[in-house]
Amino acid sequence: MAFLLEPLTYLFFQRALLASLLTGALCGLIGVYIVLRRMSYIGHGLSHAVFGGAVVSYFLQLNFYLGAGLWGIASALLINQVAQRRQVGADAAIGIVTTASFAIGVAVISRQRRFTRNFEAALFGNVLGITPADLWMIGGVTVAAVIGILLLYKPLLFSTFDEETAEVYGVPTHWVNAVFAVLLAAVILVGMQVMGVTLIAAALVIPASAARLLTHRFGRLLWLSSLLGAAMSILGMYASYYLDMASGATIVLVGAGMFLIAWLLSLEGRRGRHSAP
């Protein structure tokens, strides 16, 4: 028990644990739609786009959440818009928008070398530097995302499963996609603090992919993925503390281990079904 309680005597660890718990669960929840919509690349790309916004807002001395948030939402909507055109495929559209945005960030940094260090945190995460304001922001986005997913549960499910037919049956698919893109941008924005630009995509994809191996029920998939996301973050934080490793990378490694276990369990389950008389 002391093993678990000892790190909690530090305020920075309490904040870090709460922040990673919330963002892990949140990424697990949103990640279900990312995986089912085969948009895994979008999480990766959008975090890079937000990085450009973070650099520019820092350079212009704007509030991080305001500047990077607006930039991220604009990028998400732009990706959503371009991806719906037939001439340019979704993957190409995401690649163009996000790498251009990331390049803006890198270009600004190369001109203003004085704040290079702060952006190491943006690239690789700085969960130990979480402030109470960050926690409020993460909490707010968590509440907004959960309410958004609950309100859009049916149209999101229908349009994720069969978008074209959903439109015929009255689902406003363009609006649903746009709202989802904004939610995703908000989740990436707050998740960046914990995981960093380079690792946030893993937090979006791993829990949902692992949960999908364990259930064929959509409702169960949502909560199981959230649970795995939260568990991966908590275990990762403790492992990071005791092994003295970077928190974002440790969380991802724990997640990869969980995915491996889920895969082995699914193999075992399949073997059991096949050998049943």
Binding site: Y153, Y169, R212, H216
Partner: protein, 278 residues
């Protein structure tokens, strides 16, 4: 009447449900078909046949308003296709395009068809599930309600998606290749079911590649290849000339035990070392 049931009332037979007037559709800058006109009356059931890439699915999408014609107009129930018109259309897409590993049950898929009348709450009201179950019972798939869609047979999968299309009590049913990927008996079962629905007043248009099955079950066929080649009864349109014009291939048409049958003429390979006689 229970919502989602099959007990529809028969509509007036001379009412025009679909009126396609000289439409041209395409993708990018390339037209797929030009100057297409056709109409369907209430209660009519018609099959759209033609080779792959001939524009059959695009024509269905134009009727649904998913593809906007470059020229001409589509009127369904006497009005341009919009939200209110779509409320009376049931649509079954090509099932090959779906992700069969998607974690949804048959019942969840059927309930999607009632989206318009549903509450925004994440869960379903008891009446909604009851209506879906009644419809699934009528289609003989109630036992599969809680199974993941990949676990169903091809015929059950087609019935699930047909049930979804019927949940909104449509007056027009559009089906894109409902007989693909199922065995011969299931093909006939599906077509019998569509005949039953037609007898209840539903207007039905389906695309298919199964010429013999539609010749046996459907009273009206439209041969389509980037335009309407011919339309009429199976006897009128399934002639070697019309089929050659539709498929750009020689086909044999013959009668056996009273059934009209179409068969491909085997294409003989005529390579440099072929010794087959002409």
């Amino acid at each position: 009447m229970q919502r989602g049931g099959l007990d529809g009332e028969r509509t007036a037979i001379d009412e025009t449900i679909v009126a396609v007037e000289s439409i041209t559709c395409g993708y990018g800058r390339t037209p797929l078909f030009c100057d297409v006109s056709l109409s369907l009356q209430a209660g009519q059931v018609a099959g759209l046949v033609g080779p792959t890439g001939s524009g059959k699915s695009t024509l269905l999408k134009a009727l649904l308003g998913l593809v906007r014609p470059w020229q001409g107009q589509v009127r369904v129930f006497g009005a341009p296709v919009g939200r209110t018109v779509r409320e009376r259309i049931g649509y079954v897409p090509q099932l090959e395009t779906l992700d069969w590993r998607f974690p949804v049950t048959a019942e969840q898929v059927v309930l999607m068809g009632a989206y318009r009348g549903m509450s925004w709450l994440p869960w379903c009201r008891p009446g909604e599930r009851e209506a879906a179950l009644v419809l699934m019972q009528q289609l003989g798939i109630a036992d599969c309600a809680q199974r993941q869609i990949r676990e169903l047979s091809g015929g059950q999968q087609q019935r699930v998606f047909l049930a979804r299309a019927l949940m909104g009590e449509p007056r027009l049913l559009l089906l894109d290749e409902p007989t693909v990927g199922v065995d011969v008996k299931t093909q006939h079962d599906i077509l019998h079911l569509l005949e039953d629905l037609s007898a209840r007043g539903l207007t039905i248009l389906l695309t298919t590649h199964d010429l013999n099955a539609v010749a046996a079950h459907l009273p009206w066929l439209i041969c389509f290849n980037r335009g309407v080649v011919a339309q009429g009864s199976p006897e009128a349109v399934f002639t070697p000339d019309i089929l050659r014009a539709t498929y750009a291939s020689e086909m044999l048409v013959f009668r056996q035990h009273g059934y009209l049958l179409v068969a491909n003429t085997p294409l003989v390979y005529r390579g440099p070392h072929s010794d087959r006689p002409d």
